[in-house]
C-alpha cells in the first residue's frame, strides 16, 4: 500500500493507483474531460490529452495529469491550489476557444460534458480569440459528425478501434488540424464503420450525434391517411425512466405504453413479441443444423451465430465475407416485427402496406441503418419506416408536454403485444442465448428444462467471452457469448480456424453489456453501474413474467397456427429470414 496526502487529507491506496482514482477514493472529484472508463468492462481511454485534471504535486516542476500519474509514497497532492485552478480554467478556455459554442442549438445541450465543465469552473468569458478548426460535416443513416466540436479526447477512436476493432476512425493530421476521422477524411459511410454508434455514446460533446428522426415520425402521426404502429425493444423499458429523473434500472414498460398511446400512435406493440418469434425461427434453425451435423452432414455450418444485432451483422459482412453462411438467417426482432406488421397485420386491419407506417423504438443507432437496407423493402416500401432511439422517444414525450412519471400503467395492444420473459432478456448480453436455450432444449428434448436460468452467460463484468455447455439429453451443446466486436472478431477467427472449441451456438452483441448499453440509450457517461442496473431490471422483469419461454407465448402459437404454419416453413422463410452480403474491401488489379 502507498500513503500520500491529497489536499492535506491522508489517503492509502494500492500501488499503481492513479492520483485521479486515489482522489475519488478520498471523496475528491477532480474534473476530467478526455478520460473515460467503463469500470469492469475492459474499456479505458486515458490519453492524458485534455490536461483538465492537472494537479500540483509538491516537488514536481510542472503540473501532473491526475488521470495518468501514479501515486507515490509520501506524495503531497493539491487539487485546487491557485496555480491549479488558473491552469485548469485556462485549459478549458483554450478548448472553448476552438469550439463553436452553439450550445443552445446543439444536440448535446444539457448532456454535454464540456458544458458541465465550463459551468463547474465558472467560465464567464473566453479571453482567447482566434481561428477555429473546421471540417466537412458528414453523416451516415445513424451517426452525424460535426468535428468542429471535437475536443480530441479520442474516446471515439479508442471505442472504434480497441473495443470494437472496427477501425473506421483514427486520429489524423497534426497540431491544430488534428482531428478524429475516417481514412482520407472520407464519408463515414464509405469506411469500415458498422453504425454501432458507440462513438456517439462516449463523445463528451456534440461532435458525434445521432441522426434525429423525430420529425419524420411526427409527420407520419399527423398524416390522416396513415396508420402508425410502434414497437419498443426490450432494453428501452429499463432505461427510458432515466431521462425523466428516475433511478437507473426502474422498469417503465406500462408507463411507456401509455405515453406512446398519448403521442398518437394508432397501435402500441412490442418488439418483445417479435423477439419470441425470433427465438422460434432461430431456435428451429439451430436444431436443424445440429441434427444435420449429427446425421453426418459435413457441410453444415456450425456454430450458428445470432443475427439480431445490426452492428454485428454489418461487421461480419465487412470483415468475414467467407463466413456469411454461419449466422442465423432469421431477421432481427425489429425486422421480423416489420415484416409481420406490413404483411399479416396490415392485411388483418385492411390497410395497404404503404399506408401502414411502422416505427420502432430502439436502444440502438445501427437499427436506423438496418431498417433502410434494401432487402427489408418491398417495392421501395420499408418494413420498418423509422427507427427512433430511447433518447429520441424521451425527447418526443417531453416535446408533447408529457412526463413519464405521470403516466398510468397500460398494456400493449393485441395481437403483437404479448411477450414472455425470454424476449425481455434479449436486451442484456447473453439473453438471446438463454432465451434460445429455453426453447431449443424443450423442443429437442421434449421435456421441461430443469433449470430455466442460464447463469453462466449472464452478467456484464468478468470474462470477455463466456461459455456454457448445456446437456440436451446426452448431447453436449456448447454455447459462447460476448459483447464488443473485438471479442466477436476473436471468435470469428477461431471459427475460421476450424472451431477448435466445438461451439454450436454463439451470441454476439456489439455494445457494452448488450442492447442495455446501446448507443441510443440515455448517456451513461462512463458509469458502468448504470448498465448493471439496467441488466438487473431486465432479469427482474423476466422473473416476474408468468410465461418465460418463447414457444409458450399464446400469441406466437396463434400466429403459426393462423398464418406461418411452422417455424422455418415456406412463408416464414419468405418473410422472416434474410441473407447476407459481402461488403468487404476489394482490391482490383488493373493492367
Amino acid at each position: 500500500m502507498i500513503n500520500l496526502t491529497i489536499d492535506n487529507k491522508p489517503v492509502q491506496v494500492e500501488e499503481g493507483t492513479t492520483i485521479l482514482k486515489a482522489a475519488r477514493q478520498a471523496g475528491i472529484n477532480i474534473p476530467t474531460l478526455c478520460y473515460f472508463e467503463l469500470n469492469g468492462m475492459k474499456f479505458e481511454n486515458k490519453p492524458g490529452g485534455c490536461r483538465v485534471c492537472v494537479v500540483e504535486v509538491k516537488g514536481r516542476k510542472n503540473l501532473a495529469p491526475a488521470c495518468a500519474t501514479d501515486c507515490m509514497e509520501g506524495m503531497e497532492v493539491f487539487t485546487h491550489s491557485a496555480r491549479v485552478i488558473n491552469a485548469r480554467k485556462t485549459v478549458v478556455e483554450l478548448i472553448l476557444s476552438d469550439h463553436p459554442n452553439d450550445c443552445l442549438q446543439c444536440e448535446k445541450n444539457g448532456d454535454c460534458e464540456l458544458q458541465a465543465l465550463a459551468k463547474r469552473l465558472g467560465i464567464k468569458e473566453i479571453p482567447f480569440k482566434g481561428a477555429q478548426s473546421t471540417y466537412r460535416k458528414d453523416a451516415t443513416l445513424s451517426v452525424e459528425r460535426d468535428m468542429d466540436k471535437c475536443v480530441m479526447c479520442r474516446r471515439c477512436e479508442t471505442m472504434c478501434n480497441k473495443f470494437q476493432s472496427v477501425g473506421a476512425l483514427s486520429g489524423v493530421n497534426r497540431g491544430f488540424q488534428a482531428v478524429v476521422a475516417p481514412a482520407f477524411e472520407q464519408n463515414l459511410g464509405d469506411s469500415s464503420c458498422v453504425n454501432c454508434g458507440q462513438c456517439v455514446q462516449v463523445c463528451p460533446v456534440g461532435a458525434l450525434t445521432l441522426v434525429d428522426n423525430i420529425g419524420d415520425v411526427m409527420k407520419a402521426i399527423a398524416d390522416p391517411t396513415k396508420k402508425v404502429v410502434v414497437q419498443t425493444a426490450p432494453a428501452v423499458r429499463v432505461a427510458l425512466g432515466e431521462e425523466f429523473g428516475m433511478q437507473p434500472g426502474e422498469i417503465v414498460t406500462g408507463k411507456m405504453a401509455a405515453a406512446l398511446r398519448r403521442l398518437g400512435f394508432d397501435y402500441v406493440f412490442d418488439t418483445d413479441w417479435s423477439a419470441d418469434l425470433t427465438i422460434m425461427e432461430e431456435g428451429t434453425e439451430l436444431l436443424g443444423r445440429v441434427k444435420s451435423f449429427l446425421a453426418g452432414d459435413k457441410n453444415v455450418k456450425l456454430p450458428l451465430f445470432t443475427s439480431c444485432c445490426p452492428g454485428w451483422v454489418t461487421f461480419y459482412e465487412k470483415n468475414f465475407p467467407d463466413l456469411l453462411d454461419y449466422p442465423s438467417t432469421a431477421k432481427s426482432p425489429q425486422q421480423m416485427f416489420g415484416a409481420v406488421a406490413k404483411n399479416y397485420f396490415a392485411q388483418k386491419i385492411g390497410v395497404k402496406r404503404e399506408d401502414l407506417v411502422v416505427v420502432s423504438i430502439m436502444p440502438c443507432l445501427a437499427k436506423k441503418s438496418e431498417c433502410a437496407r434494401d432487402e427489408f423493402k418491398v417495392n421501395g416500401d420499408p418494413d420498418v419506416n423509422f427507427s427512433l432511439t430511447t433518447r429520441e422517444l424521451a425527447h418526443m414525450i417531453k416535446q408533447c408536454n408529457l412526463d413519464l412519471n405521470d403516466m398510468p400503467e397500460e398494456d400493449f395492444d393485441s395481437p403483437l403485444g404479448q411477450s414472455t420473459g425470454a424476449a425481455v432478456i434479449f436486451g442484456a448480453t447473453g439473453g438471446v442465448m438463454e432465451a434460445a436455450v429455453r426453447t431449443a432444449y424443450e423442443i429437442y428434448c421434449g421435456k421441461p428444462l430443469p433449470k430455466i436460468d442460464l447463469e453462466a452467460v449472464r452478467g456484464i463484468y468478468g470474462d470477455s467471452v463466456r461459455t456454457a455447455t448445456v446437456d440436451f439429453n446426452g448431447l453436449a451443446v456448447k454455447v459462447a457469448i460476448c459483447y464488443g466486436l473485438s471479442n466477436a472478431r476473436k471468435l470469428m477467427e477461431e471459427v475460421r480456424n476450424g472451431n477448435p472449441n466445438g461451439y454450436h451456438f454463439i451470441e454476439v452483441m456489439a455494445c457494452p453489456g448488450g442492447c442495455i448499453g446501446g448507443a441510443g440509450q440515455p448517456y451513461h457517461h462512463g458509469h458502468s453501474d448504470i448498465i448493471q442496473k439496467r441488466m438487473e431490471a431486465t432479469y427482474r422483469e423476466d422473473a416476474g413474467k408468468p410465461i418465460r419461454k418463447s414457444h409458450e407465448n399464446p400469441d406466437i402459437i396463434a400466429i403459426y397456427k393462423e398464418y406461418y404454419g411452422e417455424p422455418c416453413g415456406h412463408l416464414s422463410h419468405e418473410q422472416l429470414h434474410t441473407h447476407y452480403f459481402d461488403k468487404s474491401d476489394k482490391i482490383e488489379a488493373t493492367k
Binding site: P47, G48, G49, C50, R51, V54, N62, L63, P65, R83, N86, A87, T90, V91, L94, I95, S97, D98, P127, F128, K129, G130, A131, V151, M152, G171, N173, R174, G175, F176, Q177, A178
Partner: protein, 249 residues
Amino acid sequence: MAGQINNVGLIEVPMGITLREIIYEIGGGIKGGRQFKAVQTGGPSGGCLTAKHLDTAIDYDSLVAAGSMMGSGGMVVMDETSCMPAIAKFYLEFTCEESCGKCSPCRIGNKRLCEMLEKITDGRGTMEDLQELRNLAAVIKDTALCGLGQTSPNPVLSTLDNFWDEYVEHVVDKKCRAGVCKKLMRYEIDREKCIGCGKCAKGCPAEAITRTDYTAPGHKLASMVIDSEKCLKCGACIGGCKFGAISVK
C-alpha cells in the same frame, strides 16, 4: 553559431566561456559593424538573451538561470535588424507546425500565442494582450504533455522579460524599431527629392505608386506618391530609386 555574425559555423568551446568571448572573439563580432541585440540559444525551445547576459558563463545551469537553455547547443546571433516580437512569432510558428495535437495546451495554446503575437506585430495588440500572453505562456509550460509544449513558450517568455520595451512599442506606439513588421511600416516618397522618372511605379507589383500634380522646384516631371493602402511593403521601389527619395518610416 549562426545568424548576423561574421564567422559562422561549428565551434567547440569549453564550458564556462562567456557569450561575449564566443560572439566577439570567435565569431568576429556582428556583421557590418552593427549593434548586437540578442542571442538565441538552445534551439526553438530556448530563449533569447540580451547584451546584459554577454558576460554569462556558458553552462547548463547559468543558461537556465538566465531564462534560456543549452538545448541543442545552437546559437543564433541577432542584431538591431531583428524584431524580437517577430522572432518570438517565428518560433511559435515552428512549434505550431511541430505540435502533434494530442494535448490541448500545446495544440490550441500555441496557436493562440502565435495569433496574439501576430496581432501585436500587426499593430493591433493591446497591453491586456501582453498580460494574457504571459499567463498563457506560463500555463502552457505548466500543463503541456511533452517537452515540446513544456518549452515552446520559452521564446515568448524570454523576449517578454528581456525586450519588454520593444513589445510596448509595438502595442502602444505601433512601431517596429527593427523595421521588420511590415504592417507597422510606411513607405514614403520625398516629393522634393523625387525627379518623377517613374521607375518605382513600373517596378511596383501592387501598382500602388502613381504620379502627383506636384513638380518639385528644379525637376521637370511631377513627383510620385505611394498609396499606403495598396502598398505591400515589398521594398522593390526603394532598391530601384537612385535618388534616395523613398524611405521607410
